[in-house]
């Protein structure tokens, strides 16, 4: 239907104009709602999912260590420790598989446009993750749990090693996907807007990938070290399976201190330098630099972003440190957010800033706690220091929080893009899936995940309660 504007009165023209404005605003609002709920659903499902892989990746390394120690000195408790933690690994792995399935589906349902445009790139790495890592991990996991007597100790060690390789390879492929989204390389954009792979090796030699992978893996070792140490502390405090309690606590503290230090330096430092180099607007936002300082940038320890006045409230900062840490030059200028256009900056600066500072703050606390614990271990007082044992036991949720806020930092920092600088998040959603549909399924996920979470706690609780002495296989 066409309207001849000359036939209409000014009043009618104005009414029509307002009517079309209302439709435009409503459509825009609907799009914003869709984007918001799609992002919310993905954030919820991936946050819940990442509780599990972060433990399996780190724990697989510690299982290999226990099994290796057993092969060397033939002390049975190391073998029992390896088998005990492999049971916890199996529960985590299964929960990771269950919660990973919605992630796979969401690429097709909520993010169909993103999958359509970038499938030529991310399809490669995600398929490799499924084909190589998942099958390697799951096959050898079953062999490790059931096949010890059949295979003998050396082959049993090898199956544990392959579980470790599979779980870390899984992390590698996921990080390769994410690294391409953060710093896209080795691709070509076709006329229809689709991304295709131009150089396969560039995908895996992406300068973003290696530091991100190492940082992520070390952080997962921190989580597993805290889990192992806290189970040890629990046994000692309950005066139950104390021999294993001491072994777990000692191993957890040593792994915890080494990995906490490696998370900060060199891997964390390397990552931050990459952000400063490739995403300078994000770097300014996560560090809370609103205004460019001419002679060296300060590092903010505490402060609250005030987005109205474009400043940090109640700030405590140390001058020139950020310039030195980033460029090894005390007086080097670092661009503040005032140097960037609004669309070049992340769309939720306070969330990014807090995520980053929570991660860094917790990481610093982990180094401190593990250093103190190692000191008392050296002085042979750790096993009788009840306050420290309670602290180690109750600190166990915090490495999970640090890992998840670390991922929030990476993902919020990349916004408003899905593929940095090339594809906006708002252009990647499925245009036909309504926000109501997404909200309904989100509520469904919350309910089902609560059930799964409860099941997970029961299974892990039972395993811990039975303890490493209770080994059937």
């Amino acid at each position: 239907m066409s309207i001849n504007l000359d036939d209409l009165s000014l009043y009618q023209k104005l009414r029509n104009f307002l009517f079309f404005c209302r439709i435009f605003i409503a459509q825009n609002q609907a799009m914003e709602d869709m984007l918001f709920y799609d992002r919310l659903q993905f954030a919820f499902t991936i946050t819940f999912h990442y509780i599990f892989p972060q433990l399996t990746m780190g724990l697989s390394l510690m299982i290999v260590y226990f099994k290796w120690k057993y092969l060397r000195n033939k002390i049975e408790k190391y073998n029992n420790a390896a088998k005990f933690f492999m049971k916890i690994f199996a529960v985590n792995f299964t929960m990771g598989v269950v919660t990973g399935i919605p992630m796979e589906f969401q690429f097709g349902t909520n993010w169909a446009k993103f999958s359509e445009l970038t499938g030529g790139i991310i399809g490669q790495t995600l398929a490799m993750e499924g084909m190589f890592s998942f099958f390697l991990e799951s096959s050898f996991l079953a062999l490790f749990i059931f096949g010890e007597k059949l295979m003998g100790q050396k082959l049993h060690f090898l199956t544990g090693l392959f579980v470790f390789i599979g779980s870390w390879a899984s992390g590698w492929f996921i990080l390769a996907t994410n690294a391409w989204m953060q710093h896209p390389v080795g691709h070509e954009v076709l006329e229809n807007g689709k991304f295709v792979l131009d150089n396969f090796s560039e995908l895996f030699t992406n300068p973003w990938l290696i530091p991100a992978f190492l940082h992520n893996q070390m952080a997962s070792v921190v989580t597993s070290a805290f889990v192992v140490a806290s189970i040890g502390a629990f046994y000692i405090l309950r005066n139950k399976q104390t021999e294993y309690g001491k072994l777990f606590l000692k191993t957890g503290v040593i792994f915890g201190l080494i990995s906490s230090l490696l998370v900060a330096f060199p891997t964390g430092d390397w990552n931050a330098k990459n952000v400063a180099k490739y995403q300078p607007g994000t770097f300014a936002a996560m560090e809370g630099i609103f205004e460019t300082e001419h002679a060296g940038a300060e590092i903010v320890l505490i402060g609250q972003p005030n987005m109205l006045d474009k400043k940090l409230d109640n700030k405590i900062a140390v001058p020139n440190i950020l310039s030195f840490l980033t460029y090894q030059d005390w007086d080097r200028q670092i661009a503040g957010m005032d140097q960037f256009k609004a669309e070049e900056l992340p769309d939720n600066i306070p969330a990014l800033y807090y995520s980053y500072h929570i991660m860094v703050g917790l990481g610093t606390i982990f180094i401190g706690v593990m250093f103190v614990a190692l000191f008392f271990l050296w002085r042979k007082k750790l096993f009788t220091m009840k306050p420290l044992l309670w602290m180690i036991m109750f600190l166990v949720p915090f490495p999970y929080i640090a890992n998840i806020t670390g991922w929030y930092t990476a993902e919020l920092g990349r916004q408003p893009y899905l593929v940095y600088g090339l594809l906006k998040t708002s252009d990647g959603i499925s245009p036909t899936v309504s926000s109501g549909n997404t909200l309904f399924t989100l509520l469904g996920f919350v309910a089902l995940y609560m059930l799964l979470g409860l099941l997970f706690l029961v299974l892990v609780g039972k395993t811990i309660n039975e303890g490493p002495n209770h080994q059937k296989h």
């Binding site: 299964t94 269950v98 399935i101 909520n110 096949g147 549909n437």
Partner: protein, 103 residues
């Protein structure tokens, strides 16, 4: 979208069926932990393998119309997956133990 939820429900049905079967037929039980883990993988395996015959989550929600009959078939296959998974796993575990004791 709802298809994704159905896939999770299938897994939970697999967990329930494996545990129920294990508690009724004790000789097939691998304990609560073992039954639960086998229930997850058994249901996924059967639904992934045979779901395309017409009872996978997407077919159930075909064109946005909820198909109750297909959902019932999906639930039955998920339950069967959990049970079969348990029977096969128990068979493999007992074979492995028998072989190792022969060695």
């Amino acid at each position: 979208m709802t298809g994704t939820l159905i896939s999770l429900i299938s897994i939970i049905i697999g967990i329930i069926s494996a545990n129920t079967f294990g508690s009724i037929f004790k000789k097939y039980s691998l304990g609560f932990k073992g039954n639960t883990l086998i229930g997850v993988f058994g249901s996924i395996l059967l639904i992934k393998t045979f779901g395309r015959l017409g009872f996978d989550p997407w077919s159930i929600m075909n064109n946005g119309d909820f198909d109750t009959f297909r959902l019932i078939i999906n639930i039955l296959f998920s339950a069967l997956g959990g049970i079969l998974g348990l029977v096969v796993s128990k068979f493999i575990v007992s074979k492995m133990n028998r072989n190792s004791s022969n060695n």
